[in-house]
């Protein structure tokens, strides 16, 4: 059984069908890059997996847990899958440490002392142990995004969804975030990431999904997808001219 099973998923906004029957199975420890033009449905797919959007047809399951739109199922699913956003979305009124502690204490009812130990550990892991008491607006974009990663990791998810997590960063800050992701990948974390960092996708990912107009247009290992794109759409997207 795959870790994440996405079967015939359709999603409409009004009469705009954004996902037109998506099938992807993700094995434990896989790192999936999702690429494609803006508007092709990449974010919507990730948001469906995390239950931020409800699906109209099909099914999604994570580690055997079905995605159903009630609070209990959603919470169970979200404890298994963490999500990192393009805009960081740190809680601005809390320090970095508190950001990482909050959901442990509120959702998992972890005692404060334990949550604090975990928060320190996770901030260390992303190289920000010394920023425990800093507020988000005292951190650079790259640092904020690493705190967001630590915050998600503190919930001990079995998979992470990353939606263009470096797109809002200045170029010189991209690498510090990608380095953290790479580290996670090498530790065996299952990752699905929408990204424009083709080099990163090529080096780190086990499979690449090319989305086009709400469908999985091509899927395969990076060497195939990047070196030998089959469809004209992917060729055009990659800027390959023959």
């Amino acid at each position: 059984m795959s870790l994440i099973e996405i079967t015939e998923v359709k999603k409409r906004f009004g009469d705009n069908e954004v996902l037109k029957g998506i099938n992807i199975d993700v094995e434990p420890g896989e790192v999936i890059a999702i690429i494609g033009k803006s508007g092709s449905g990449k974010s919507t797919l990730l948001r469906c997996i995390n239950g931020l959007e409800t699906i109209d047809e099909g099914s999604i399951s994570v580690a055997g847990a079905q995605l159903l739109p009630d609070e209990l199922h959603l919470k169970a699913l979200r404890l298994k899958v963490g999500m990192i956003f393009q805009g960081f979305n740190l809680f601005p009124h809390l320090t970095a440490g508190r950001n990482v502690m909050l959901s442990q204490m509120v959702v998992k009812k972890t005692p404060k002392a334990e949550a604090e130990v975990m928060a320190k550990k996770m901030l260390e892991r992303v190289g920000l142990g010394h920023k425990f008491d800093a507020y988000p607006d005292q951190l650079s974009g790259g640092q904020q995004q690493r705190v967001a990663i630590a915050r998600a990791l503190a919930m001990q998810p079995i998979a992470l969804l990353c939606d263009e997590i470096t797109s809002a960063l200045d170029p010189e800050l991209v690498n510090e975030v990608l380095a953290v992701v790479k580290e996670l990948a090498s530790e065996g974390m299952t990752l699905m990431m929408v990204t424009h960092e083709m080099r990163f996708a090529r080096d780190v990912c086990s499979r690449v999904v090319f989305m086009h107009q709400g469908r999985v247009h091509e899927i395969g290992p990076p060497e195939e997808v990047f070196a030998a794109p089959k469809t004209p759409e992917l060729k055009q997207f990659l800027g390959v001219t023959h």
Partner: protein, 219 residues
């Protein structure tokens, strides 16, 4: 000409100003409590809650406070219930304040970025947990200046209760004028007392706004 010294006038006015202050506090605190409940109904997920709260807010914002006072005072009288002026004044002002505070606070809650909801959702928090730990703490600091600012409207609103016979500062002004025939002096003092009550409030609203903006924007 009159048997009243200026001090007599001022003393009488100040004594009745206590009722203006008390009514303002009661209205503001009571209105805050009812307004808080309205806020939750208004932004909640159900269908009935938001519909009720929206109608309530529109009704109270869409009619003059004076009419609300009349309805509270005379309306219940029609059913044979004798409503004392202080009760009608208190109830009407509480309900009126609640409508405005609920609407001010709704604006503050809705100004919190959507990403805050999404991030807290994705971490497994439920609606009430998100509200308690993520949304309200941020909305609260935005809400302080306009809320303090609105308290000025409440103080001024209490003046209308003189019309249904509640003896607060304005009513006392009329009564003292009738006894002294010195309307200019009397109402001059009345205005001055109102100013002394309202000015610190609006000033502190301004200062709070600047403070919350300048000092670390977010915490």
């Amino acid at each position: 000409m009159s048997d009243f010294t200026t001090w007599d006038i001022l003393r009488n006015l100040l004594l009745s100003a206590r009722w203006t202050v008390l009514l303002s506090i009661v209205s503001f605190v009571g209105g805050g409590l009812v307004g808080g409940a309205l806020l939750f109904a208004r932004i909640g997920k159900g269908r009935l809650g938001p519909a009720f709260a929206r109608t309530y807010i529109e009704l109270f914002q869409g009619t003059p406070l004076l009419m609300q006072l009349f309805l509270a005072f005379f309306g219940l009288g029609l059913f044979g219930i004798d409503v004392p002026a202080w009760l009608a004044a208190g109830v009407a002002l509480i309900l009126w304040t609640a409508a405005f505070l609920a609407e001010i606070w709704r604006g503050c809650v809705e100004s919190i970025a959507k990403g805050q909801w999404e991030a807290s959702s994705s971490l497994g928090m439920g609606y009430l947990q998100q509200m308690r730990w993520v949304i309200l703490p941020q909305a609260l600091r935005i809400a302080v200046p306009p809320t303090v600012g609105f308290s000025v409207q409440v103080v001024k609103g209490t003046a209308l209760t003189s019309i249904i016979g509640f003896v607060e500062l304005s009513k006392a002004g009329t009564m003292v004028t009738n006894a002294t025939f010195e309307p200019f002096t009397v109402y001059g003092f009345v205005a001055l007392i109102y100013f002394c009550l309202c000015w610190p409030l609006s000033k502190s609203s301004q200062i709070l706004e600047r403070k919350l903006n300048v000092a670390h924007r977010n915490h």
